[in-house]
Symmetry: C2
Subunit: 334 residues, 2 copies
DNA sequence: CTGTTAGCGCTTTCAG
DNA sequence: CTGAAAGCGCTAACAG
């Protein structure tokens, strides 16, 4: 078996045209049963395997979806990618991976490479401080559809799947209010993220319902690093009023915040209470897990986003209208 | 810009042969400076981009590496994949992802799809109960080199990168012995895994050094599930002798084991002490982290494995000899 | 029902 | 220094 057998090889041996062989292999209706059988038998015997790179080239399709996301070591994204992979595989698509590591430059570079590799479509969750979307607009020019998920750009003429953080935040803050907390700090994410602004809105809604006034000094934008979290905590704990509860951006941030609180001699659950987002399995390992966490359905988001992308690719979905799927986040009390 | 510009297009406009354009673009030495400049200028102007699928087809290379690993949501593997991705990208290779979810059947299927997609090479970490390696032998037939990492098959005629668990285990058990523990339980992995057997050896070595006798009933093979861990713990805690320390297969297992111990009313760090493997960031979140954890260098393993694969692909590495890179695991005391 | 022909975009002999 | 021509493996339009 020097060179893998081709369709030509089969044709020659059977004295047929390559086109006939191709059709027979594809069970084309207008091919005689006899020849079809012959061809398929020989193909099996020679262990013929179509050369996909030839097909990709010829059909201008690679059956490959590119994924750009910030960081697989964040449990949210590793769950999301499973949803993506499972859904893609069901339709015989493969997944090309690219981590931006939350760096816009890298994100751009990956977008270009993905384009060069001629992925059929792209699934993207933005790096946390990406505000320039030119590298995605570029993709439109190449007719490569993009579906964003979770960390989506602030644009309307795009396809996306996301979780609305308002509902979950409303529930989270309400829970704290019902437990009697009156001064609730919020460690929010970078302002660039839509999700950060939604958290603010949800927070405000909850206060309004309870006829309490919103105090902007209790809502801190942080960069989600350990350092940023500590600074946010420092600010919150030095607020004029005594903060008794914290809404942390996610379970990792919550963990860092807890750490800081402990260092300040606070007792978790007594002096200060935490809720957060993501509802990651990691919280079951934590010494002081948040009392509740807002579920963001990573697997589902990945799945939905991929379904939309596949519809776009198979033309089931009109390309001129933009799909916006918004899941409601939901508080999970432990 | 209906259809992306091709080399042909450029040739026509400049009244050149496509071959000349191709050469000019590649800075072929025997092309006149003038024409080279002309071509490159026009290429830039038209925003020419080579059609990689054509090149892949023609060169029989896809500049794509396939990755098959058990589960990205395990921190070890998400770290490893970063090492892989970074190294691959440096050489302009992309990464096709496939998770086996620790299921041999899925692993086989993915191996076939990867072959169909004509990946240039494959990086593999085995599903936990894979014992039949026929799907990897199949790849050799197609001249697709495979480099295994971490969870490697028990074969010698393969390339691999792995961590030797003996050294780390020796250190871990020694630490416990030095702290005065005399009855040390071990929650080991499935027997199929080489790493499980290495742990056993390391454990025995440590005992021997301290002139203690090995007791097989203290070394339990488990399936690494939560349930399996609980059963292993139950067995260990009902041993004739009183177990005062546990060596857990990894930080996740350690966590489950701690949970069980707590339920049995044991005090962690007093009645019973834990050490484990992986040294994952997650342990910093844990309520009762192991007092030490054996580092297994996921990023480095991914990096090394990829380097070897790339050498194989660029022919720098003789294909007839097999590369075995073994890193020594090392105990990290918290 | 099957064959002929052309072509996808690029590289690479072989000629000149 | 440049051109002509072939070919990678496959599909598809067009003929019969």
């Amino acid at each position: 078996m020097a060179n893998p057998p081709t369709i030509k090889e089969i044709a020659k041996r059977l004295n047929l045209a390559t086109s006939t062989v191709s059709r027979a292999l594809h069970n084309h209706p207008r091919i005689g049963l006899r020849t079809r059988m012959q061809v398929q038998a020989l193909a099996r015997e020679l262990q013929y395997e179509p050369n996909r790179t030839a097909i990709f080239f010829q059909q201008k399709k690679t059956f490959t979806l590119g994924i750009i996301l910030p960081e697989l070591s964040e449990a949210f994204f590793s769950a999301a990618i499973s949803g993506i992979e499972d859904t893609a595989n069901k339709s015989d698509y493969m997944v090309l991976l690219g981590q931006s590591h939350d760096d816009t430059e890298r994100e751009k570079k990956i977008a270009h490479i993905m384009k060069d590799h001629r992925v059929d479509g792209l699934l993207v969750s933005l790096a946390k401080n990406t505000v320039d979307y030119s590298h995605f607009e570029m993709l439109q020019k190449y007719n490569i559809p993009v579906v964003f998920f979770d960390r989506i750009p602030d644009l309307t003429d795009i396809h996306y799947v996301a979780c609305n953080m308002e509902s979950g935040t409303l529930q989270a803050v309400s829970l704290l209010l019902e437990k009697g907390h009156r001064v609730i700090g919020m460690i929010n994410g970078p302002e660039e993220l839509i999700a950060s602004r939604q958290r603010t809105t949800g927070y405000q809604q909850a206060l309004r319902k309870h006829r309490l006034k919103y105090d902007a000094t209790l809502n801190i934008n942080s960069d989600l690093t350990g350092k940023g979290t500590r600074e946010a905590m420092k600010q919150l704990l030095s607020n004029k009023r005594k903060v008794t509860a914290i809404v942390a951006f996610n379970d990792y941030v919550s963990q860092d915040a807890v750490q800081y609180a402990l260092e300040q001699g606070l007792q978790i659950g007594k002096d200060i209470t935490f809720v957060s987002y993501a509802n990651l399995p990691l919280s079951s390992y934590m010494a002081f897990p948040p009392i509740a966490s807002v579920e963001q359905y990573p697997y589902l988001q990945g799945q939905k986003a991929t379904e939309i992308l596949l519809e776009l690719l198979t033309g089931k979905q009109a390309k001129n209208e933009f799909r916006h799927v918004v899941l409601d986040s939901r508080l999970v009390i432990r």
